[in-house]
Amino acid sequence: MTSILSVKNLTVATKVNASRLLVKNVSFSLQPGKTTCIVGESGSGKSLTALSIMGLLSKQLVQTQGSVVFQEQNLTLFNNSQLREIRGKKIGMIFQEPMTSLNPVLTVGYQIGESLTVHLGLKGAALKARIANLLQQVGIPESRADSYPDELSGGQRQRVMIAMSIACEPLLLIADEPTTALDVTVQAQILKLLDELKTRMNMAMLFITHDFGVVADIANDVVVMFRGEIVETGAVEQVLSNPQHPYTKALLDCVPDAAGKKELKPMDYAWLKGEVTT
């Protein structure tokens, strides 16, 4: 199958010290209708990878190498106004904190409508109808369009974020730890919603998480990152049931299971000697 996005040898360094690499030679590709999970611990470079795909790296960081090819165009060569055409229209984004990523002084309807106006030029009744339709798709009553973010619960806010991100029917949805701040029952609902939307819209989804349970529920493919490098990639069943890399194995051994049958093991970094030069 042709991939919608392919990342090749992506490398990110700090501006002050170009030899300090935060993301090293990362390559993977995404297919429409499939979810790829990037899983790793804090500092593994998973969020930076997502941010550099969209050209949203902070000013202290710089992409020193590699290409991000989206629909046969190399996004790394795009300037800001070209990127703005893509962001929010063809690539949707959801972030971790539903509390801080919404503007508290604007109604949720207005915030959902913004990208529809900017990218598709929708106005008036057509805009209103589309906002109502989007709210309904994410399971929020239409009447909530006039509510402010503080009037909604955490799960509802994340649903609003999802409605915003899918407003222009993007080809790719990047979700950075979208359920980490939520309660488990709400998390289960949001995961289900994202999975349904992905299937219905035939989107590719890049899902970033640190939770292997979430990976098992939502991923088709998995990319495991450690200290800025990919240590293992593969189909979800393969990586979870038959991990090849010692880091993946050790990380899976750290995850407690709800059945209580597994013995927890402390993280073992013995394999690091020689294998990864850090």
């Binding site: 611990e41 804090s42 955490g154 309660d183 488990v184 029952t185 709400v186 998390q187 289960a188 995961l191 640190h210 939770d211 292997f212 349970g213 979430v214 990976v215 098992a216 529920d217 979800v236 069943e237 979870l240 049931s241 050790a250 990380l251 051994d253 750290c254 995850v255 407690p256 299971d257 709800a258 059945a259 209580g260 927890l264 093991k265 402390p266 993280m267």
Partner: protein, 272 residues
């Protein structure tokens, strides 16, 4: 039947919350609604629930860090809720707490040695030299180095800070340890280390632990008994294995079925 070291009976606690568009109205939130729990000596009791279920309020009310409206908290035959001042202070030595956020619960201006030794100082336990050596041996026990006593909290990672929090609580040799989400801010590899450390220390020091958590996978691993809370009420309680295998209440069933990754585990079990 083993002995009960800490028992709470019919705890009630209500908060007022601002409501309405400009916060002029008030609504009452029942954070604890007739909550009764029993902590068996030497065991771990987990309190689980989603945000707003009252589990942290329960921890704070047990230690009398927040006043109760009504209810009794028995520790070694005495009602903590009726104690005050000096009595309560002395008794708290036996009831220590580890907090959730390792970045917020350590005073950034104090050295690690002072943080861990403060309890010994306050309770006047031993001479200065004895206190110093106790602090050192506790720090070593939780996996920190002797030279770390001179450092400040910001020089440590999240996992190391949580170790400091544990050392601070355990240096007083308490009988009961209350942990409020001690591993939820940590990476899974660090989480495993801290859970294993807690388990070891618990056995070594014959601790009875109240473990507050929203993560049912962690709870399954560390607890003997479990209390499920929802909106200030206890929904279900019992032995961990029993509740996980045969939850009788709908809410417990919902919580358990929402644990991510179960479909995969079932598949794996079938294949094995």
């Amino acid at each position: 039947m083993s002995q009960i070291i800490l028992e709470a009976k019919n705890l009630n606690k209500t908060y007022t919350q601002r409501s309405g568009r400009f916060g002029f109205g008030t609504t009452l939130v029942q954070a604890l609604d007739n909550v009764s729990i029993q902590l068996r000596t030497g065991s771990t009791l987990a309190v689980v629930g989603e945000s707003g279920s009252g589990k942290s309020t329960l921890a704070r009310c047990l230690l009398q860090l927040q006043p109760l409206e009504s209810g009794e908290v028995f520790f070694q035959g005495k009602d903590l809720a009726q104690m005050s001042g000096e009595d309560l202070r002395v008794t708290r030595r036996d009831l220590q707490m580890v907090f959730q956020d390792p970045f917020a619960s350590l005073n950034p201006r104090m050295r690690i040695g002072e943080i861990v030794g403060e309890g010994l100082l306050i309770h006047g336990l031993g001479s200065r030299d004895e206190q110093k050596s106790q602090v050192l041996s506790m720090l070593n026990r939780v996996g920190l180095k002797s030279e770390d006593v001179k450092k400040y909290p910001h020089e440590f990672s999240g996992g190391q800070r949580q170790r400091i929090g544990i050392a601070r609580a355990l240096v007083l040799s308490p009988k009961v340890l209350i942990c409020d989400e001690p591993v939820s801010a940590l990476d899974v590899s660090v989480q495993a280390q801290i859970l294993l450390l807690l388990k070891e220390l618990q056995a070594e020091m014959a601790l009875s632990t109240l473990f507050i958590s929203h993560d049912l996978r962690v709870v399954r691993h560390i607890a003997d008994d479990i209390v499920v809370m929802n909106r200030g009420k206890i929904v279900e309680q019992g032995e961990v294995a029993e509740i996980y295998e045969n939850p009788t209440q709908t809410y417990t069933q919902q919580l358990l079925s929402a644990i991510p990754g179960q479909k995969h585990l079932r598949k794996q079990a079938l294949n094995a």
